[in-house]
Amino acid sequence: MPGMPGTLSTFGRYAGPATLILSSLAGGAKHGYALSKDIDSFAGVRLAPGTLYEALSRLEALGLIEALPSEDRRRPYQLTAAGATALQEHLQAQRQVADVGLRRLAQGWGR
């Protein structure tokens, strides 16, 4: 169901690419090539074309992103409200884990 908590966790090995795509689209609509470049720039990850489109098709099927009309072959995608909710919940859960990990590192390892 779109936007339900933990939606991205059902993506299995495509959860990582899906998070990167949603994070990129949170900054505005993009087509495949622009997505790939943007993700490379902010995450240092170059998603392979097949992986990118597998994740895109799953996100679209769940209504987390939607395709915009286009006059050329490059079709842009944008985040939906359900996608924004799913991304926010996913990132908050990740932040919680990151916070716990960092706090324990600071307490136990002085870092």
Partner: protein
């Protein structure tokens, strides 16, 4: 078209038609740009191979992301039907070999006797399941009056394939090795005509393909039948699968078919256990009767694979 675009277009062909229709153009653009930047990259090729396979499995109802609504149940049931067709072709070949032996002499080993009885019972149950599964599909086709184009083509493929198999099978059954003098008075487990028909239908499942010189010594009609019959079997399975995928079966009928599918999977397991008990026992009677060969081991492997594929399809038929 520039070289990267040509290469990209070639790579995209690996994806199924339905996927290409939706994403093909934009994906080709992205691939072409990637190819222009990195002309040689085995990771990209491997990625396209893996995700293309995943898309194919998804369209076939066997893996990857689920299709929308009833499409998933329809695709998975069609995949189960395909797996069942492969299973029954390999299984009938093994079964008919045992029946030939049984027609000439009582089974020399307990394994052969148990296997033949189990497999015969399982095949009878398959027949019951086939009738139960065909009833709502036939009813829907009859109610529609074969108006829908693609369904009509699929129905025609089923009818033509069946005609070829029945007419050809009955003709070729005359050469059944169980025909002739019968020293054993009880004359087999099942009627000779049924056994002969099963043998004729699966004449192409033979290790003679690995011995072309011996194969060429066969009568021309038999050789032709060994080529035509698998094509007709494939036509029958394809036609049925297309019918299931294209007919607008109600959720209730889809759930009913899925329940029959689970029974079919259990029946496949029983049949496979019977065949395996005979092949693995390895013992045989006088002469070549009841002797399992390499083709039976191959058939066993094909059946096990078909059961695994069918089970995977069944797991994805859930539809509410």
């Amino acid at each position: 078209m520039a070289a990267p675009e040509i290469r990209a277009a070639r790579l995209v062909r690996w994806y199924p038609a339905g996927w290409r229709l939706r994403y093909g153009a934009e994906f080709t653009e992205l691939l072409a740009a990637d190819l222009a930047e990195r002309p040689r990259c085995w990771r990209r090729t491997a990625d396209v191979a893996a995700t293309g396979l995943l898309a194919r499995l998804s369209q076939a109802g066997l893996g990857g992301q689920r299709l929308a609504g009833a499409d998933q149940a329809r695709a998975s049931l069609a995949a189960l039907g395909g797996a069942l067709a492969v299973f029954l072709t390999a299984g009938t070949a093994v079964w008919s070999q045992l029946l030939v032996g049984w027609q000439w002499a009582p089974p020399s080993t307990r394994a052969a006797a148990v296997a033949t009885v189990l497999m015969t019972g399982a095949l009878l149950f398959f027949l019951v399941l086939a009738v139960l599964a065909a009833a709502p599909i036939g009813w829907q086709l009859a109610r529609r009056g074969f108006r829908a184009g693609p369904s009509r083509v699929s129905a025609a493929l089923v009818v033509v394939s069946l005609l070829v198999l029945v007419i050809g099978g009955r003709h070729m059954a005359n050469g059944w090795p169980g025909t002739g003098g019968h020293p054993w008075p009880q004359r087999g487990l099942v009627p000779g005509g049924v056994a002969a028909f099963g043998w004729a239908m699966t004449l192409s499942v033979t290790s003679y393909w690995a011995h072309p010189a011996a194969l060429l010594a066969f009568p021309a009609a038999e050789l032709a039948w060994m080529v035509v019959s698998p094509v007709a079997l494939a036509g029958l399975a394809t036609g049925l699968a297309r019918l299931v995928r294209r007919l607008d079966l109600s959720p209730r009928v889809l759930r009913y078919q899925a329940r029959l599918g689970r029974l079919a999977a259990a029946d496949m397991a029983v049949f496979l256990a019977g065949a395996a008990s005979w092949v693995l026992a390895g013992a045989h009677g006088p002469g070549a009767l009841f002797r399992p060969g390499a083709i039976d081991v191959a058939a066993l492997a094909a059946m096990a694979l078909a059961l695994a594929v069918g089970w995977q399809a069944l797991r994805r038929t859930a539809y509410r």
